[in-house]
């Protein structure tokens, strides 16, 4: 533990020097910045974090290295608690997904997003309703009819994780169309898509990036997107269809909307300068062609928010998740 204490002490001294001498010039990291991913390697958040790391390295956007660290334990709780307990350490940022809300609600770990300092919303991840291309459902209506006709609980929905975004959407669909699905949780989105290709489940709500390869290979068919408007990308992907051509679920009579936050937070008690530094950094990242390619490949919604707007968005979203999870019976206290 000693070297660690020493490090903290040195960092504190360095920081106080930096803030006293260079407060006009803004804050800059004085040692490597840890980039925590509250999810496993290879998943959506991990891919995004590693892409950012690659962009930062390639374009020399930071003087200090950015180090990606996965802390996936307890549905990401491990990562959130780590940042929460690093109060006043500006060399630690975290990328979040919906488990920012769902993990504390479902497991009851002592954490709330207000424990962290919001930095910026990078993008929103879309959810699409997928079925196997061999199945006869060509439209949402065919799908809904089939799901309603099947004996209660025999229609299987595959998704990533338990009591997280995929299952929340599933419960939303069940309510909207008054049918009962069996939800089967898997570890990762890629696995879910393959289970659908192999006909081990009947439908999934994979993110675009998780299922696009199977769509292009003619194995899966997208039915609708859980967003208020269609996605923005009009480059053809498969069978002459583009992301843009996928209708919204609402327009097809399936009233459910859901987008997943891909945002950045930093440890508690960050100063204005420190927040400003990371906001500027991510603005630069967003301007690179690599980032734009990445957004296109995953058909992301590229909304960018910072400061009060960002905090307001999170607050509204937290209320919504509380409501959705309470309705679904997913709250920890409910057990």
């Amino acid at each position: 533990m000693k070297p660690f204490v020493l490090n903290v002490a040195l960092a504190a001294i360095a920081m106080s020097c930096a803030s006293s001498t260079a407060s006009r010039a803004g804050w800059e990291p004085v040692r490597p910045v840890e980039f925590i991913v509250p999810a496993g390697t290879g998943g959506g958040a991990d891919q995004m974090a590693r892409t950012i790391q690659g962009i930062v390295t390639k374009h020399n956007l930071m003087k200090q290295p950015l180090v990606v660290i996965n802390k996936a334990g307890g549905a990401g709780g491990e990562g959130f608690l780590d940042v929460k307990t690093s109060s006043g350490n500006p060399h630690k940022i975290i990328i979040t997904l919906s488990n920012l809300f769902t993990t504390p609600l479902a497991t009851g770990i002592p954490f709330n997003w207000k424990d962290l300092t919001p930095v910026a919303m990078l993008a929103l991840d879309e959810f699409v309703l997928w079925v196997n291309a061999e199945k006869p459902y060509a439209t949402v209506k065919d799908y809904v009819d089939a799901a309603k006709k099947a004996p209660s609980g025999s229609f299987k929905m595959g998704g990533t994780g338990s009591k997280q975004e995929d299952q929340i959407i599933t419960v939303g669909i069940e309510k909207a169309i008054e049918a009962k699905f069996t939800y089967i949780p898997y570890k990762g989105g890629g696995e879910v898509a393959v289970q659908l290709v192999g006909n081990h489940v009947d439908s999934t709500v994979n993110n675009p990036i998780e299922a696009v390869a199977q769509w292009r290979g003619g194995k899966l068919r997208p039915l609708c997107v859980f967003d208020a408007q269609p996605m923005a990308y009009d480059e053809p992907i498969a069978e002459g269809k583009a992301w843009k051509d996928i209708p919204t679920c609402k327009s097809q009579g399936l009233a459910m909307e859901y987008l997943m936050l891909r945002g950045i937070f930093m440890s508690p008690k960050a100063t204005k300068d420190q927040i400003e530094y990371f906001v500027e950094l991510f603005k630069k990242v967003r301007a690179t062609p690599e980032w734009q390619d990445f957004m296109k490949s995953g058909a992301f919604n590229t909304t960018f928010l910072t400061g009060a707007d960002y905090a307001k968005w999170i607050e509204a979203e937290e209320k919504r998740h509380e409501g959705l999870m309470k309705d679904a019976g997913f709250l920890a206290s409910a057990n």
């Binding site: 533990m1 891919q47 390639k58 990606v68 996965n70 949780p185 696009v212 390869a213 290979g217």
Partner: protein, 499 residues
């Protein structure tokens, strides 16, 4: 024949001087990563991934896959010399590799391990080259029930084929299941057995348990036995390699069987760990000197190493063609593919021919380069055992501590490793086998997950495990393996009563 033309084009890509240089660097880095327990292939590749972003994708994947090969080779070194498996699939290698090293035959054990790895990987690459399109679809037939059946087979073949008293094996295995249950229950999303301790959110990591149980436990035992490393009189020259090579062809049957087991387990995305255990278990039953397994039998090194590498290599096939990573390392490689703008999936073989065949060609060459690098170093590795125990033991302890720390960057894990070390020592003193415990920690939660996913899908009916030809066959094989001893005894009794 188009494939062959593509492959030769791939060789041309991989044989560019720049790529060969990357290959050698990759292998060397990989061996270093593999030797440090805990760092492991997945972490190593993840750390080095950003280095490759500025390279062309084909060169980048060549370097990364060479790191992967290097790590696989490196894992065998610590397993054999110090009884510390660096990766789950090297656990079975310690059973006979470590006794061999103690008997003064570390060179033979290392040579056998490296060569078998090479053979297994080569077999799998040839399979990928020839039948990739046919085999790729096979993984699609694996739903939760089929996956559970494969894990079931791995557990059963271990209990049924083990020489230890079955109840001790089962007791050790149950302990492993209990440890594997700690952490997040992935089916309900609830925390289990964490008692509000933040450090336990992630459960017990396999690597921490193994470093403690095997590495620290072994050091404690050696200390008790008088502070001497056996095996110090090892012959250390390159002739050992040639001598061992002369001996190896006699075990072609074991090799071939292990290759087949490995490829099968790799393509059905069950992975290298069950493959190595199963192959070891089966070799123990079928080999001529099977009774001597566990006491330093060279076939006991060949069987798990061949199978693990055949599986590890063929696991890349479902990753490329379906986008399902067969191992944590493959998952990181998958992330790399996406960053380079390559979308794994059915279209990759069609749209990115140069990349895919460059990768396959680099598997051939990377493996060969790896074999040459590690074999020439065999005498150096073996010479480590000549260092007095008083010097090497603290070094191993430090290495173990660094390894345990680097898994999650947590000092709690280092404490945990020491606790597991004491546990390992006690279990060994009481003659409980450690392997089933480790097997249960590695595969326990996966098996549980697959079991519960199957039952969710079937709405609670156990018939799902006998619902089609594939899953029934694997389940029946598992049951046969479980009761193998009883069946064998019954059969011989029947024969004597008939006579």
């Amino acid at each position: 024949m188009e494939e062959l033309a593509n492959l030769f084009h791939g060789f041309a890509v991989a044989l560019q001087p720049y790529n060969i240089m990357l290959m050698i660097i990759g292998i060397t880095l990989g061996v270093i990563i593999g030797v440090l327990p805990g760092l492991g292939g997945a972490n190593g590749v993840a750390i080095l991934l950003p280095l490759t972003f500025s390279m062309p994708p084909t060169s980048a994947i060549i370097m990364l896959s060479c790191i992967y090969w290097g790590a696989l080779f490196g894992g065998a070194i610590t397993s054999i010399l110090f009884n510390i498996p660096g990766e789950p699939w090297s656990v079975a290698t310690t059973f006979d590799g470590y006794p061999m090293a103690q008997q003064g035959k570390p060179g033979e054990a290392l040579t056998a391990a490296f060569t078998s790895s090479f053979v297994g990987a080569l077999f799998a690459v040839i399979m990928i080259t020839l039948v990739a399109p046919l085999v790729a679809g096979f993984a699609l037939r694996f739903g939760p029930a089929e996956k559970f059946a494969v894990y079931f087979l791995a557990f059963c073949s271990f209990v049924g084929l083990s020489k230890e008293p079955p109840f001790k094996t089962i007791a050790a295995m149950m302990m492993g299941f209990a440890l594997a249950a700690v952490g997040l229950d992935s089916i309900t999303g609830q925390l289990r057995l964490t008692f509000g301790v933040t450090e336990l959110l992630n459960g017990f990591d396999f690597l921490i348990a193994v470093i403690g149980l095997f590495g620290i436990g072994e050091i404690l035992l050696t200390m008790e036995e008088g502070l001497a490393f056996r095996g110090g009189n090892a012959t250390i020259n390159l002739r050992v390699v040639i001598q061992t090579w002369r001996e190896l062809p006699t075990y072609w049957m074991t090799s071939l069987r292990s290759c087949l087991i490995g490829c099968w387990m790799g393509v059905t995305p069950a992975g290298a760990t069950p493959a190595s255990f199963m192959s070891y278990g089966i070799a123990k039953r079928l080999a001529r000197r099977g009774n001597n397994f566990g006491k330093g039998e060279i076939e006991g090194v060949i069987a798990p190493e061949t199978a693990a590498h055949a599986a590890g290599t063929s696991a890349l096939l479902p990753m490329l063609s379906l986008g399902v990573p067969g191992s944590p390392t493959a998952a990181v490689l998958l992330g790399g593919l996406l960053i380079w703008g390559l979308q794994p999936g059915p279209m990759l073989f069609v749209e990115q021919k140069e990349f895919v065949w460059g990768l396959i060609a680099s598997m051939y060459l990377g493996n060969l380069a790896g074999l040459i690098v590690v074999l020439t170093c065999v005498p150096i590795f073996a010479a480590i055992l000549r260092v007095p125990f008083g010097i090497i033991a603290p070094l191993i302890l430090v290495l173990c501590a660094i390894g345990a720390y680097s898994v999650h960057n947590s000092t709690f894990d280092v404490m945990l490793m020491l606790v597991f070390g004491v546990l390992g020592y006690l279990l060994k003193k009481c003659n409980y086998p450690l392997a089933p415990l480790v097997l249960a920690i590695v595969l326990g939660d996966k098996a549980e997950e697959a079991f519960r996913q199957s039952l969710l899908g079937s709405q609670g009916s156990l018939n799902v495990f006998f619902s089609n030809g594939l899953v029934s066959t694997i389940m029946v094989l598992g049951l046969v393996a479980l009761f193998w001893s009883a069946i064998q005894e019954g059969y011989s009794r029947l024969r004597t009563s008939m006579a």
